[in-house]
Amino acid sequence: MKTIDKATEKMISIAEENLIDTAFDRLDLQLPQCGFGELDLCCRDCNMGTCRIDPFMELPGKGPKRGVCGLTDDMMSARNFLKLVTRGTSAHATAAKNVSTVFKGVAEGKVPYQVVDDEKLKEVLEKLECEDVSCLSERALADFSKDEGTLNFLKMIPEDLINLWQKLDILPTNINQEIVEGAFRLNFGVGADPYDQILHALKLGIVDGASLFISSELQDILFGTPQPKEGESNFGTLNKDYVNIVAIGHAPVLFEKIYEATRNPEIRKYAEEKGANGIEVYGMMCAGNELFVRHGTPMLGNFLQQEFAALTGAVEAVVVDSGCVMPALVETASDFHTKIITTTKEAKIPGAEHIEFDYEKADEIAAQIVNIAIDNLENRKEARINIPKEKTSFTGGYSKLPADKIASAIADGEIKGIVLLWGCNNPKTVHDRSHVEITKGLIKNDCLVFGTGCWSYAAAKSGILTEATELSGDNIRRFCEDAGIPPVVHLGSYVDTSRFCSLVLEVAKALEKPIKEIPVVTCAPEWSSEMEVATSMFFVALGIPNVFGVTHPAGVANVRDILATKFEDTTGGKILFEKEPERTVDVILDNLKGRG
């Protein structure tokens, strides 16, 4: 079985009929995947390599147990782990930098964006001890260039924790500097001590977390703080009679403008002239979450479904920004009329149309992209339209969470704990299954579940967001009726993980305990991207255990031990691994039990 989602299953067979290969097929061709790579025992960081370390007994007894430079297996594994975290952090840092730049443009009146949410602005200004938008934009951008003190966007972290981080020497100075140090440590003959490398990964985790806060706080100010709303998910939401635009990627800066353009009466009229009944933008992955939580647009599908958008034959344009975008989109779409449009200078794909996004000309560029989609409608072939019927209604987009009520429910033992499920899909495990099974298992056991990223789609499509109340334990049901939230709470995109972190901080404050004594666990059961490894280190720094599925991000036992045990006594966080969804629920419950 490849997926538990009926629509995806149908699209896989349509791909097969059309002789188009998908991630599932390409994975088959990769098997068996290189065991040295899987075990972190491969290093090509310098030109003396490629080096591999033999995990088995080499005959006649002289297998390579060190690289040419003398790197041992755990040194290699720690370097590889730091590599993942450095790259993952750079993604969130770039996103945060971009939105900060836009914010500066707003302060200077140079970009066609404005402050939409005054209340949120006031809240953030207060938190950062700022007076106005221009001060806030300076504070945000300063986090990328300061040379003393620590990040402004760590103001929400309680003093005790800041002091602990300082003691561990993991309090970051500025975002760019720590990423550069991460890259430097990976240089020829630099970082070797596994524990020390992991310690820097922890520092980068904090940088990653601060970046998430910058993005979500500033995005709320610019585009509005999400309110719970009803929506629909899966391919069945595609309207055959519309000009359909699919947004894939992350930041709402571009996609908000595309959404606005599709609501522009002139553009709508143009679409009608071209024979469409309307025009809609559908989001996939984080972009879809961002659009949904603010406008209620349909959430089309998650990471592994992205290739199938073009295959429906009813999508005029797929607009991508950066991150989690499969280059395969172009090849898959080449057989259909769908245009793939890249917009980020760092994320071009050969064969795609590149329209570079420029904040100052955001409106014109968005209109240009939407017009390309409308003009492409005439190339659509009726006979090639294949839209699966599946669509599910759900409610999501929560941002205001009743922290005090949750805190007292934890203190009373009414709920066993709070759990965040987050992260990608991975064809190495059944698509969506772990996300859904683990969510079900947790609410049955009186845990309150929150979720972000591609988890959102798995939850929405499977119906657990609506059926959660029936599936939950009695305690949770009673609590949720009283608190006004469902047992399974959809927060939004990946950067909205920061909302969960805020909640944990508030709960800890209300209970007057450090986070390591609060029953909270996070879990990325179907992870693929290095971004998850980076953010998991933020959880470890905060004092939250994180459970990974699929495979452990570190291959060598010694490095796994460091991640699982070395920070338990200090921050209280750790990285755990469990492959099977059923057992993952037990691992999470065990960890909740051991805390507070």
Partner: protein
């Protein structure tokens, strides 16, 4: 028609996938993570040797006529009914005669056990059901197990 194992040395990139897969066959674990931690450590029965500019995977061909069996003074090496050549480690005295006798260098000496070890086709069902795991896992198709006639024709 008789099938033979053939190595297309132009195609071998020394990725050691065959070695990894071979070692895994000797474990009851289904994943490399657990298998790599087994004690005693697992052993691969195929080796990739660098000769000049070429990398050559070397493994037992389970020959028709077996110099290794003839060379063994204790009859520790024998051919099973299904044609697979195996070593009985209880009888092997570690004299290494078989290693010297093997024309393709497919038998290795395990210093710790003081015994010879070789491919015993853990992965395949008597040449019939499926390819050898080294052949099956080879990402470039450098290892070939095919009809003698077909291979001979392609080599010309």
């Amino acid at each position: 028609m008789e099938k033979i194992m053939y190595v297309d040395i132009e195609k071998c990139v020394a990725c050691y996938t065959c070695k990894m897969q071979c070692a895994l066959q000797w474990s009851d674990k289904d994943n490399v993570f657990q298998a790599s931690r087994e004690v005693p450590q697992l052993q691969s029965r195929i080796r990739v040797k660098k000769v000049g500019n070429y990398s050559i995977p070397m493994t037992c061909r389970h020959c028709e006529v077996n110099p290794c069996i003839e060379a063994c003074p204790t009859e520790a090496i024998y051919k099973r009914d299904d044609g697979v050549v195996v070593i009985n480690p209880a009888i092997c005295i570690g004299c290494q005669s078989c290693i010297k006798a093997c024309p393709i260098g497919a038998i290795y000496f395990d210093v710790k056990k003081n015994a010879a070890v070789k491919c015993e086709l853990k992965c395949s069902n008597a040449f019939e059901e499926r390819d050898f795991c080294c052949v099956e896992s080879c990402p470039t198709g450098a290892l070939i197990y095919a009809d003698f006639g077909k291979v001979a024709k392609e080599r010309v």
